[in-house]
Symmetry: C2
């Protein structure tokens, strides 16, 4: 493997590892357990899972891969804090959507070359990208991997009942 | 910038962003605030900071950059859980050590090329690396960035007093 391919392989593995441990944690919880707060007065587990799902779904257009699969999640899980919306999807629904989004991302990720990853994402103009070439797809991938790890770390703190 | 240099630039920015926000959070806390648990019955902030410091210090030999600067941290912050050791360093001490370790890492990171990052780390043999070429320095960098984000996410949950 040349160095470039090797660097991308590492980043995709890191993404996958974080997705997989997140899947494992949330998928094992009952509907009731998903309603627990991770710490007193903080987000519920179901909110974190929905937030991560919406956030990953938003990667599809941001990376120029496809349209959103589940834009309806944003109102509940991105635009508003936990507790604002009364009609949250069930854990069973979120599990299905989470897997659907991650499958779509993984398939698309696997088709990108090194120069594809180094290209701009769709939220920056061609002109701005000339000045800030680090605002590329790869930076987004790494940022979202850290975002996953950040909330996964919080989810692990929820009391086990 | 060629794609390879661009991928490394993204990863170093991601590392730096996570280091910087961690520095900002912990450095602003008083000695008393650092003794708060992030959630009931969970690690104290001082323990998380020490754990991250020891973990970053351990990157120096793992990536073949230099010897450890502060191996004495491991007994308290890696080998044992929070509450085991009575003589923790003060927040002022940790801040100094944290900055020292991060300065050393940043200087060393800046000198590594793409093919340097794709080389094996020091905890894998040449033979095993042939079979598992993803066990390279870059994978370690990304894994430790996620580790930072994981504990940073936890630290943000501590009650503000």
């Amino acid at each position: 493997m040349n160095p470039e391919a090797s660097l991308i392989d590492s980043a995709l593995r890191s993404w996958k590892t974080n997705v997989d441990r997140t899947t494992k944690l949330f998928s094992a919880l009952t509907e009731e357990q998903l309603l627990e707060q991770v710490a007193p007065g903080k987000n519920r587990l179901i909110y974190l899972w929905g937030h991560l799902t919406a956030s990953s779904d938003a990667l599809l257009p941001l990376l120029g891969l496809s349209q959103r699969l589940h834009p309806e999640l944003d109102f509940i899980f991105i635009a508003n804090p936990d507790g604002h919306s009364q009609n949250l999807p069930s854990g069973a629904d979120l599990k299905r959507i989470w897997n659907e989004v991650n499958d779509a991302l993984w398939t698309a990720f696997s088709n990108l070359s090194g120069s594809d990853w180094a290209q701009r994402h769709t939220a920056i103009s061609q002109e701005d990208f000339k000045l800030e070439p680090h605002r590329n797809r790869f930076t987004i991938l790494l940022g979202r991997t850290a975002h996953l790890a950040y909330h996964f770390g919080q989810a692990t703190l929820a009391p086990q009942r």
